[in-house]
């Protein structure tokens, strides 16, 4: 039975290797001048692996970039260790991650959760534990109804996004008849419903409202339906992997209609999957991809996974605000993680529309009641994009494009 023993040994070895790989400790960042610094953990919760990790990794890298910068500042009073709370974006994976975060005695704040579904599954625990959590990318409007005192949304929500998409289709694209589709997810369907309502309100015909099978590859039956509906425009609420395939196949079928989606499809994956056929596709996103931050981010990370650094600046800004909170808390005499958490929360609460944080992505301020991202002109938090020459080109913020 030598062979059998060997196989068993091999199996045991691989299991060991996988476990070892999974448990690999994150390297601690270098400490600055060796002065008395408080060790704190800031967790990033989101899909760091799995189907949608490329939508989340930019935000994580943005946060990490900022933490590295803060740690390198000689007068920064703490050493931030960014810890990875990987949920693969699945709410079912959230509870164990949340448990880890809460039981870490050094935890002072969380950047995340990245998606709306996992936010719902995690928020109560963070709120009860008094850990401030700032999401760079969860956009479902209903999260604000949870009334979590320690939750902050560093990005504009889908209600505004859908309404602006509808307005854009009506006024800028000049659509007469729109087929509204979605991926049946919390994010995609919610967004599509707002688009549908907006279009109907504006008197634009909605030729169809249908959900697709997410993760499918052959969309031809769906596309035949779109074609026969006579729509001149297709809106899709959902993620890039689906939208890229749909766009490619629509053009392959020779269907010449206008196409639009939102932040879930604003990615390099969409561009790659749709190829040349992506040309002319419209996008709306509460993310600002312009400015020199994108260059800095790409310089630090090579932009391999995300040539479209969606929410990278939002992740960076979330960490900046948390860092500022830590600084003020420690300067104010806080020494324990509990005190620092409270200090961060107090600092975040001071960020109101008349006293915003000057971030890389935008001026960040929170509504004192809901902790939604707030601004003097809420529409200025959204940006329109169009695919031109194979890349996602900014058209400007919503007020600029729609003319106020």
């Amino acid at each position: 039975m030598r062979r059998g023993t060997f196989l068993r040994f091999l199996a045991a070895l691989s299991v060991f290797a996988i476990v070892a790989a999974a448990c690999r400790e994150e390297e601690a960042p270098p400490t600055g001048d060796g002065a008395e610094r408080i060790d704190v953990s800031v967790w990033f919760q989101g899909a760091l692996t799995g189907d949608y990790n490329y939508l989340v990794i930019p935000a994580f890298q943005g946060a990490q970039l900022r933490a590295t910068e803060l740690n390198a500042e000689t007068d920064f009073p703490a050493t931030i260790t960014v810890k990875q709370g990987d949920t693969q974006g699945d709410p079912a994976n959230a509870p164990p991650v949340v448990e880890q975060v809460v039981s870490d005695p050094d935890t002072v704040a969380v950047v995340g959760p990245a998606f709306s579904g996992e936010s719902e599954a995690s928020g109560d625990t963070y709120n009860d534990a008094g850990i401030p959590f700032v999401t760079p990318s969860a956009t479902n409007p209903a999260l604000a109804d949870k009334e979590w005192d320690y939750w902050y949304r560093g990005v504009a929500n889908d209600a505004g996004q859908g309404a602006l998409a509808g307005q854009y289709l009506d006024e800028i694209v000049g659509a007469q008849s729109v087929f509204v589709s979605h991926d049946k997810g919390t994010y995609g369907q919610g967004l599509a419903e707002v688009v549908q309502e907006t279009l109907e309100g504006a008197g634009v015909e909605v030729a169809g409202f249908e959900g697709i099978e997410t993760g499918a590859t052959d969309f031809s039956a769906f596309i035949t339906g779109v074609e026969k509906s006579g729509a001149d425009t297709l809106f899709f609420g959902g993620y890039d992997a689906d939208f890229g395939k749909i766009v490619k196949q629509i053009r392959d079928e020779g269907l010449d209609i206008e196409l639009m989606s939102a932040d879930g499809s604003t990615s390099i994956t969409f561009l790659a999957l749709a190829g040349e056929e992506a040309e002319g596709t419209h996008l709306v996103c509460p993310c600002n991809l312009a400015g020199d931050f994108a260059d800095r981010y790409n310089a630090a990370y090579g932009g391999k996974i995300a040539a479209v650094p969606i929410y990278a600046a939002e992740g960076y800004d979330a960490m900046s605000m948390i860092g500022e909170g830590i600084r003020q808390a420690v300067d104010g005499g806080a020494t324990t993680a509990e005190d620092i958490r409270l200090g961060i929360k107090e600092y975040l609460d001071t960020l109101t529309p008349d006293n915003p944080f000057d971030g890389e992505a935008k001026q960040v301020a929170f509504d004192p009641e809901t902790h939604e991202l707030a601004a003097e002109d809420p529409e200025s938090l959204y940006y329109f994009y169009k695919v031109e020459g194979g890349s996602i080109v900014g058209l400007g913020s919503a007020p600029e494009v729609l003319g106020g």
Binding site: G211, G215, T217, A221, G225, A241, G254
Partner: protein
Amino acid sequence: MDCVTNVVDQFWDQTRNGLTLGAIYAMIALGYTMVYGVLQLINFAHSEVFMVSTVVSLYAFRDWFGITEPASGITLILVLIGALIPAMLASGITAVAIERLAYRPLRRRGAPRLSFLISAIGASLAISYLFNLMDGQHSLLFVPLPNILGPAPQPVPDVVSGEALFSLFGTPWNGKRVLIIVVAVVMLVVLDRFVRGTRLGRGIRAVAQDQETAALMGVNINRIIVTTFFIGGTMAGAAGMLYALNFNVTAWNIGFLPGIKAFTAAVLGGIGNIRGAMLGGLMLGLVESFGVACTAPHWANVIAFGVLVVVLMFRPTGILGERAVA
């Protein structure tokens, strides 16, 4: 009712959609049905056999042949053959490797059927997640994994133009769809001839009918089983190449849905029955496409599996009945 108008309105379009999708299901379903025929085992890792071929096709088109725009004429034929053969081989070898590592050790020890099932699911998950992790940033056993695929879906370059070749009842057919139908029909006919008409095919049928008696008659069981896995693998390989070519995409989890659907097709046609798998595949493709026309895409699965339940109610062993390979 929208359903009737849509079905009438979209009849030829959806027939085309259903036939091309069904041809792919049929080719994958063969692997499930043949393995079931000889081992009474559902090889759930078969979806990964399919996935491997889409990845090989990606490399063939993108890197080996450096395709950037649709080819034509003799170049096209050479590229297609040059991708099809390695894709089929890679899938065949993957299938044989799965048999070696995941099933044969269990077979030797006479493990209960449930163990095979768990082993199959394990092999499936292990292979697909291995491809997910192969993005050049992860290590296994402290050996860095190569950058092969990674978590994001990868675009496959357009080899065959999406332009319509001809119109049938007002429905345009492009080269990709024509190619799928042609290759599928050729493969299925060849396989059918092979299993019915050759010595090796007779061996497969003999093992499927009665393993012990076949062994007593001098049939080398292990060789037959390996052959069965290999042939089923090459069929999934051909399907994978056509899939990548038609939909211009591959991903670590691309095998999951077609795998489930093809398994359904195999059961629908009568598991263990080769012609049944072909028929089941085409039927499922058509039912799905017309289901979408009749309702909406989000109902497609409800309708497809509803049909499966109804068929099994009246014909518990599938349309053509459960027969041991043939």
